[in-house]
Structure formats: C-alpha cells, structure tokens
C-alpha cells in the first residue's frame, strides 16, 4: 500500500532552500587538491617556457638582430648567429614534409577507404607502432641503409637537374668516370628522409582519424549516384578531411622541426646558409645544441638557450595553427564530448 506523506499544516509555508553550487566538505578538499596539482603542472611547464625566454634575453640583447642574420657560430670570436642553423632546420623539415606528406595522405586514405575491412585495425596498429619507433632507430636506418642509395639518387638529380639551384652540388662532378659519392652523402636530403619516416606516422594517424569520421551516409550517397571509389574519395572524403590533412601535416612539421638525434647522426655539421640540400653538410638548431652544449661557457649556454627558445617558438606557432585548423574544420578533432 502506498502512503502519501503527511503534510504538517504548520510547516506549509516552508521557504525553498538556497541552492549553492559551491563545493562543500569532501568535495571542497578534492577540488582544492586537484587544483593544486594543476597549479604545480602549470608552474613546471610554464616555468620551462618562461625560463627559456628569460635566459635568452641577455643573448638577444647582446647580439641584437645579428643573432638572426649571422650564420657562423664562433663563440671565441664573439660572433654567433642562428641564420645557418635556422635555415637548415627549416630546410630539413621541409624536405621531410615533402616526402612524408604524400605518403601519409596515401597511407591514411588506403587504411580508411581501400584496405580490406579485416586488415584495417592491424594496419592502424602498425602505423601507431611506427610512431613509437625511437628516433635513434630511424637515425641508424638513415645513415647505414639509406645513405648510399640516397647519395646515388642525389647524384642522378645533380646530373640531370643540376641547373636548378636546389639540386646543385658544388665541388663535385656527377659526370666523372669515378664519381665521388661522399659529396652527396651526410646531406640535409638524407637527414630529411630519416626525419620524414619519424613524422609520417604522426601525420598519418591524424589524417586517418579525420577520414574515419566522414559521415557514412554521404559516402554511400556518392556511391549510389554512380561515383567510383576514387570519385567518392575525391568528392566526399577529401573535402571533409581537409582540416585534418592540413592539421596533421602541420603537426608533423612541428615534430620535424625539433628532431635531434637522427639529424645529429646523419648530417655533417657546417655553418652556411645554402639551398643546396643534396650537398654534404648543414646544421639544425637541435643538432647545434646537442653538439655544442658540452664545452659551452655560461654566455654560450645562454646563446644555445636562445636558439632553443627560437626553435620552441616556431614549433609552438606551427602546432597552435595546426590545432586550430583541426578543431575549426567541419571534421573536428572529435575529442570534445
């Protein structure tokens, strides 16, 4: 039997209780504790950025604009700048992206649209595994397996397309009877190949995730209207995933800019601003730091930190733009609940 609650006649005019969203008791402790953790992480991560900027100031003030225009790095002569290493960094990253971008796009499309359904999850795992392969492995792969083939390709490019400044190599004759391959080895081109293999899986993962969110109905509509599979990909999947394609590529670019150890293993260091990417020698900011930190005095350390800070700012801008593009596009990152 159901009994209705009995109203006390006197208590009828009870005022509604005040509703507060403020945490009380255990909740208060929880919020305070977790807020502390957040603050600690904010201090640590933010502290690193602020510290880098603060340490970079004396160097930037001392050298002024010449820090960005000077190409040599001679702390003994008080002449140093990051023009050469910065251009080297950008060149290596661009080479890496020009190799990684088409391959990543093709692989992402293959996995999401062409691969047999049963193999799809295995292929996704393989791409993730490729992303987890340590960079030193790619460095070894690049310098011991790829180097000689890449040098041969570089010589062929120099022989046939040498009139383009990009493919030019000084002090080497590609038509000689016994060509000197060493002028074509240890170059930014080879380093770019190794870095490309590092950033490829990362870009591919972002692209594939966006492609997999393409509305099934639109794909089926395209097929029902008579589109071939490629027609469907071109008219539905690619436009839908445009944000993911650009964003994934830029995330990869951000990673490529900061890559150290593969470049350090492959590239023979030289301080020169040059577009001749097939030629031996070159340098990047991260390789400069790794090569010069050991014997650095405090002022040189500040210069290295300034170089690192500039690199950090560039990657930061690239990553932020990438994240904005991925989030803004119709496809979205798909993480917001």
């Amino acid at each position: 039997m159901t009994t209705l609650p009995v109203h006390d006649a006197i208590d009828v005019e009870a005022t509604p209780r005040a509703i507060s969203r403020k945490a009380t008791g255990a909740d208060k402790v929880f919020v305070a504790a977790i807020r502390t953790v957040g603050s600690v992480v904010l201090v640590i991560t933010g502290g690193v950025g602020v510290f880098l900027g603060w340490q970079a100031l004396p160097t930037l003030r001392h050298y002024g604009w010449s820090f960005f225009t000077e190409s040599s790095w001679q702390p003994e002569a008080d002449v140093l700048g990051i023009a050469a290493v910065l251009s080297g960094t950008v060149l290596v990253a661009l080479i890496a992206m020009s190799i990684a971008f088409p391959l990543a796009l093709i692989t992402a499309l293959y996995i999401s649209e062409y691969a047999p359904a049963g193999m799809r999850s295995l292929l996704v795992s393989l791409v993730d595994l490729m992303a987890a392969v340590p960079s030193i492995i790619w460095g070894l792969w690049g310098s011991y397996l790829i180097m000689e083939h890449a040098a041969g390709l570089a010589m062929w490019l120099d022989r046939n397309l040498g009139f383009i400044p990009l493919f030019q190599v000084d002090d080497a004759d590609p038509n000689a009877a016994v060509p000197v391959l060493s002028r074509y080895s240890f170059s930014m081109f080879v380093a770019g190949i190794a870095v490309a293999m590092m950033v490829l899986p990362m870009a591919c993962a972002v692209m594939r995730q966006v492609f997999s969110q393409t509305p099934q109905g639109e794909k089926e509509a395209a097929l029902a209207l008579g589109a071939t599979r490629w027609g469907m990909v071109r008219s539905v999947v690619l436009p839908f995933g445009r944000g993911g394609i650009i964003g994934g590529a830029m995330l990869g670019l951000g990673r490529a800019l900061g890559e150290t150890i593969a470049v350090l293993l492959i590239l023979s260091p030289s301080f020169e601003v040059k577009p001749r990417v097939l030629e031996i020698g070159g340098n990047t900011v991260s390789a400069l730091i790794a090569g010069r930190f050991g014997d650095a005095s405090s002022s040189q350390l500040s210069a290295l930190l300034a170089a690192g800070f500039v690199l950090f700012l560039i990657t930061l801008v690239v990553n932020t733009v990438a994240a904005t593009i991925v989030n803004r596009s119709r496809s979205g990152a798909g993480t917001d609940a």
């Binding site: 640590i44 293993l265 350390l301 932020t320």
Partner: protein
C-alpha cells in the same frame, strides 16, 4: 507444402487480387547470386595481368633497351609500366572515369606498401646488423666496464644501459603519471577559467623540442645548481618532456567520457572524488593506459634529453643520484659515434633491444586498450551447460 492458394484462373470481376508465387518443385535449385561487391574473374584477371605485364615491360626496358642497371630503376620502371597498363586496360572497358579510379587504387596500394616496407626494413635491418652481438648471452648479463670498442662480442654487454633506462624512465613515470593524470582530471572535472589557462599552457608545452627539455635540466640542475650528471637528472629531463604529452593525452581521453555517467554518479549522492575514482577513471582505464604507455615508449626511446644530462657510464649504476649513468638510446648513440665496426654492431644490437622494449610496451598497450568483452562471458557463465555446448561446439 503449399504456400499459395491454387487459383489458376482469376475469377471475373475481382480486382486487385494478389497472387502469391508458387514453388516449382521440379525446378533446378537456384544458383546463388554473385556478390555485388566482389570482382568477377575477368576483372581479377585484368588487375593481376596489368601488374604482370608491367613486370615484363620493366624487364624489357631495363635489361634489354635502356642502360638502367640496378634494382631501384627496375622497381621504378615496373611501377610506371604497371600504371600505364592499368590505365589502358581500364580505359578500354570503362573510359576515363574507370581509368582514374583504377590508377588511384594502384597508387594508394603502392604508397601504403612503400610505408609498410620502410617499417619492416628498419626493424629487419637493425636486427640483422646487431645479430652477431645479440646471440652472445653475455650481451644481456654484462656491462661495458673495461671493454674497448674493438673487443669481440664475447665480452661486454648492455645490462647497464637496460638498467639505466628502466631507472630513468621509472623516475619519469613516478613524476609524470600522478601529475599528468591529476592535471587531466583537473582540466576535465573541475574546469573553469584557470583550468583553461592550464590547458593552453600544457598544450603549448607539447611543442617543446626534446633537446630543449634536456638543455633546460642541464642549465638548471647541472650548471646552476651544481649537481653532477646523473640518472636523476636524466629522469627529470625525460619528465619535463613527457609531462605535457601525458597530461594532454589523458585530457583527450577523459574528455570523451560521457557526461551522463558523471551526472548519474553525482545524482546517486557520490562525492566528486568518488565519482572520479569509481566512475570516470575506471571507464577511461583502457584509453588512459594506452596514452600513458605510448608516452612512456616515447620517453624511453628519446635520446636527446639523456644525451645532455645523464653522462655516459660504462659500468652498472643502480643509484640514480650517484653520478653518471647510461641508457639504451645513449648506449647506441655513443657506440655508433666511435665508428669501429664491432662497436657499431654492438650499437645495432642495443638498438634491437630498445626496439624490443618499445614493442613490448606497445603490445601491452594494445592488449589493455582492447575493448573488454565482459557481457558475453557473463551470459556464457550463467547459461545452462547444454546451451553452452550447443553455442560453442
């Protein structure tokens, strides 16, 4: 068995009478309809034939007509010839549209195959180059103290580097896991303007190049504070690199937990801490585990932070505060730099071990992240014995 009424002649005047089809018992059994999606034999032959004729043309061009020696040329010509034959055969049957479709499919398959070949080549190449050193048991049980770069493989090993890597990553995990997941909980569960600021800064710091993280610890911990290079410094450098990565990955995982679960828990009277501990974290466990293990794999494989901070010990060190230490990536890097053939082979063996460690972590992450099938198991357990044997013969 008769399914339809026996009405052969419709009665006059009945409009709209429906006749059900009758089964003809004498007819031959129906031929199963060919699948709509699957290729016919003809189409299969054209696809395989295009590749085969491409192979033949490539042989003809590279070996008989043009002086293009070497495997790379052969593969390139093979690809071009296959594309050309594919385009021609497709255009013959379906015109330009079909040709474009088939060309795109070929390019996709070849491109994905190239990426797969790169991954396999890297793994196989590193293993093969290090095999000579790997097959010696002492490689896993000894350190490198007193072993020169030219010494043979039956002396010295990688033990100190494995132990060093584990200790350094252990330090990094002990620091970053509570802080990273705690921050992620703060960003998703508490929210507010301050949480937004934390999220912005953490996302920005994922852009920090790993070498700069190492340089930061080197400048602060070793140069400014005057501590020696040690495993602790290396662990801290890895932590600085890993913390934003883990915090951000966990944040992404926690954000996709449906809000309804939280609300249900809170509506039942659970405190916020209990909601997080009993509802949010268990729901997110597979995703969190994957995020963290992939972060750890990244941390264990990164060379540049430890290059600056840990020093390069040739002997076994177990105390992370006690001077120089070694780790797997650093072991590989320093041996490769010597250029001695034996040392390089040892470096490749070390790289194989590193690769194996990363792969084991990766497989563990996959196994944890796999969707748990709890429900079918429960029904199986409660189902009667006879039903179970019928279902699973």
């Amino acid at each position: 068995m008769t399914l339809a009424p026996e009405t052969d002649v419709p009665a006059a005047g009945t409009v709209g009478q429906t006749f059900l089809p009758r089964y003809d018992d004498d007819a031959a059994p129906a031929v199963p309809r060919a699948s709509l999606g699957r290729l016919t034999v003809d189409e299969k032959f054209v696809r395989i034939g295009s590749v085969a004729s491409g192979l033949g043309i490539a042989w003809l061009i590279t070996q008989r007509i043009l002086p293009l020696a070497g495997l790379p040329w052969f593969l390139v010509v093979w690809l071009v010839a296959t594309l050309a034959v594919t385009a021609v055969t497709a255009a013959m049957s379906g015109g330009a549209v079909e040709a474009r479709d088939r060309l795109a499919a070929t390019v996709m398959t070849v491109g994905a195959g190239v990426v797969g070949a790169v991954l396999i080549s890297a793994v196989v190449f590193v293993t093969v180059k290090g095999w000579a050193a790997l097959i010696h048991v002492n490689f896993f049980t000894e350190d490198m103290s007193g072993v020169g770069p030219k010494d043979s493989f039956d002396r010295g090993g990688v033990l100190h580097a494995i132990v060093g890597s584990l200790i350094q990553v252990g330090i990094a995990v002990a620091i970053t896991l509570p802080l990273g997941i705690g921050t992620a909980i703060f960003m998703t569960e508490v929210g507010g303007r301050f949480a937004k600021l934390v999220r912005t800064v953490v996302e920005a710091m994922t852009a920090l190049p790993s070498i700069v993280a190492g340089l930061f610890i080197y400048t602060v911990f070793i140069v400014a504070l005057g501590y020696p290079r040690s495993g602790l410094a290396a662990g801290l450098a890895i932590s600085v690199m890993m913390l934003p990565i883990i915090a951000r990955a966990s944040d992404v995982v926690l954000r996709v937990i449906p809000g309804g679960l939280r609300e249900a828990s809170l509506a039942l009277g659970a405190s916020r801490w209990r909601t997080v501990w009993h509802v949010v974290l268990p729901t997110a466990r597979p995703g969190l585990a994957t995020a963290c293990i992939l972060g750890i794999a990244r941390g264990i494989g990164e060379t540049s932070p430890v290059l600056l901070t840990s020093g390069n010990a040739q002997f076994l060190v177990v105390n992370p505060t006690d001077g120089v230490m070694n780790s797997l990536p650093l072991f590989v890097y320093s041996l490769v730099r010597t250029g001695e053939p034996n040392a390089v082979a040892r470096a490749f063996a070390g790289a194989t071990v590193l690769l194996a460690v990363v792969m084991v972590l990766f497989v563990v992450a996959r196994l944890i992240a796999r969707p748990q099938r709890t429900k079918p198991q429960r029904t199986q357990r409660t189902a009667p014995q006879s039903a179970r044997t019928e279902e699973n013969p």
